[in-house]
């Protein structure tokens, strides 16, 4: 008799706990607009999408309006990169007063090898490179992933 009572109690408790759980599910079923975190990507890519300013995306070398950048070709970023995705090619240039100076020739960035760890940005003493918060980086051709970041004819920005 006692075991029967125990059995029935368990059955009742089972149904009760099932009901409390299902009540919550039913609540969310009838309140579908409450706390939606789903992003309607790609429909919202031009409207409501919110990519934080600090999002670690593609590395860029910003140029000002006079086509000047801040990179001094010190290669600290190249040394800081764990994957070897940065290659800096510099040339020796002679200025008017006869001093030899190292000048950036090509800032080559291999996007395919980048893990977006941000070590290069951290290592740069001039703050010449930044990470853009762009994330749609796929291309059709693998060779397009290797980019030259400095624009043709660009020069080093002189310090004020």
């Amino acid at each position: 008799m006692k075991s029967l009572f125990q059995y029935l109690k368990e059955v009742f408790l089972g149904f009760y706990s099932l009901w409390t759980g299902l009540k919550l599910t039913l609540y969310y079923f009838t309140h579908p607009r409450k706390e939606i975190i789903t992003e309607q990507y790609p429909e919202n890519r031009t409207t409501t999408i919110n990519i934080p300013e600090r999002f670690a995306g593609e590395v860029i070398l910003p140029h000002d309006e006079n086509n000047k950048h801040k990179c001094t070709a010190c290669t600290l970023c190249e040394m800081a990169c764990p994957n070897g995705s940065i290659k800096i090619i510099s040339v020796q240039e002679e200025s008017e007063d006869g001093k030899k100076k190292r000048v950036l020739d090509k800032w080559i960035y291999n996007l395919g090898m980048c893990t977006f760890c941000g070590q290069c940005i951290d290592a740069c003493p001039q703050d010449a490179i930044i990470m853009k918060n762009s994330f749609e980086l796929s291309v059709y051709n693998r060779n397009d992933l290797v980019k030259t970041l400095n624009k043709p004819g660009s020069k080093l920005k002189e310090k004020e």
């Binding site: 759980g21 599910t25 934080p52 600090r54 999002f55 893990t115 977006f116 941000g118 070590q119 951290d122």
Partner: protein
């Protein structure tokens, strides 16, 4: 015609080997379990590793100290911040630099948020392993909000590389404290829903109670740490016994339950989430002002010697052991990962049980496969 009724039942059955994984929906990753079955009873269980071995320990020998840290995010990817912290602390020990108070506070907040995300994901996947799909989506709500905070402050969602030797990469955003306060209110509300939906459910309790019993002695001899060991009545929280980054100044309880079964492991993690919230609440109201990063040279060189640092990740104890020969690259870097030791306990607790209970045991041990293989 032959009458099978006269033959003893033992002679009729035959052992059968089933490979669970490496690509199986309920194993969370590329772990292969070679289970020898007799009917539904597990006779033997052999975990086969190596499907996601990347040689992280060897890779660190060719990278510098700073560059090695980003690799540690990829070991236990659900405790990326805590792994970064462990590696940074070990390097700081060698360099003998003092971390600013502000950086310490940010580190602890980030680590506890990470523990929260990890346990929330575990809660969802644990219920999903046992056949309930709804919890998985509910757990991802809070996790998504925490990941948004990570994304805004550190730039990445999963593999942050935010904690570096000397402090943290960047200062937190001005709205960091207010956004976390807002978040914690929600998380606390949702924790109640979790209890309502799953913890009180009789079917769920029956699947876990008395299943996968890991006795105290076995847990010690297998080297289990973290929630798995604490559910077997072993007090082993590194945050309490070897405090780092100012955990000794905070008030929190170590959850130890003497249940030894899967249900105890479930309870430990649910209580730990509340403790994590409690820790964050103590810090968030007064994050110290000042520097967020001590001055560190571009290329780090450690003095000749051996350095060891242990931290408590969401899965247990992570140890980082660095041997330095004085150069700018580590001579050897060894990681003692929690999941590897916890996996060792899987065989003794499942042999002799039914195959249906294997999933329950695996779910509550909470394995992360890249942490096992490295």
């Amino acid at each position: 015609m032959e009458n099978n009724n006269n033959i003893p039942i033992d002679d009729l059955t035959e052992e059968f080997v089933v490979n669970i994984g490496p690509q199986h929906p309920s194993t969370h990753g590329v772990l292969r379990l070679q289970a020898t079955l007799d009917g539904e009873t597990i006779k033997d269980l052999l975990p086969v590793l190596g499907y996601i071995h990347r040689g992280i320990e060897k890779m660190t020998e060719s990278l510098g100290y700073k560059q090695s840290i980003y690799l540690t995010s990829r070991m236990d990817y659900l405790s990326a911040h805590i792994n970064n912290q462990a590696c940074s602390l070990a390097i700081e020990k060698g360099m003998q630099i003092e971390v600013p108070e502000r950086a310490k506070a940010i580190r602890i907040i980030m680590a506890e948020l990470q523990r929260l995300t990890s346990h929330e994901l575990w809660w969802g996947s644990c219920a999903m392993d046992l056949g309930a799909v709804t919890p998985f989506f509910l757990a991802f709500r809070d996790r998504e909000r925490i990941l948004d905070i990570f994304e805004g402050n550190t730039g990445n969602r999963l593999t942050m590389n935010y904690i570096t030797p000397g402090g943290v990469m960047f200062d937190v955003l001005p709205n960091f404290a207010s956004s976390i306060k807002e978040l914690l209110v929600k998380v606390k509300e949702h924790l109640k829903e979790y209890e309502e939906l799953i913890t009180g459910n009789v079917i769920f309790q029956h699947r876990l109670k008395g299943v996968g019993i890991l006795p105290r002695e076995l847990a010690i001899s297998m080297g289990c740490t973290g929630p798995v060991a604490r559910a077997s009545g072993i007090s082993c929280d590194v945050r309490k016994y070897h405090p780092y980054d100012g955990y000794d100044k905070l008030d929190f309880k170590e959850i130890v339950i003497d249940g030894c079964d899967s249900w105890a492991r479930y309870k430990v993690r649910m209580e730990e989430m509340k403790q994590s919230i409690h820790i964050i609440e103590q810090l968030i109201h007064n994050i110290p002002e000042g520097e967020f990063r001590a001055k560190v040279k571009g290329v780090i060189k450690l003095p000749v010697g051996e350095y060891y640092q242990r931290v408590e990740t969401a899965r247990g104890e992570l140890g980082v052991y660095i041997v330095s020969d004085g150069g700018n690259k580590p001579y050897r870097m060894k990681f003692r990962a929690a999941s590897f030791s916890n996996l060792g306990a899987l065989k003794p607790i499942t042999v002799g049980a039914k195959i249906g209970d294997l999933m329950a045991s695996m779910a509550t041990i909470d394995l992360v496969i890249p942490d096992i293989d490295r």
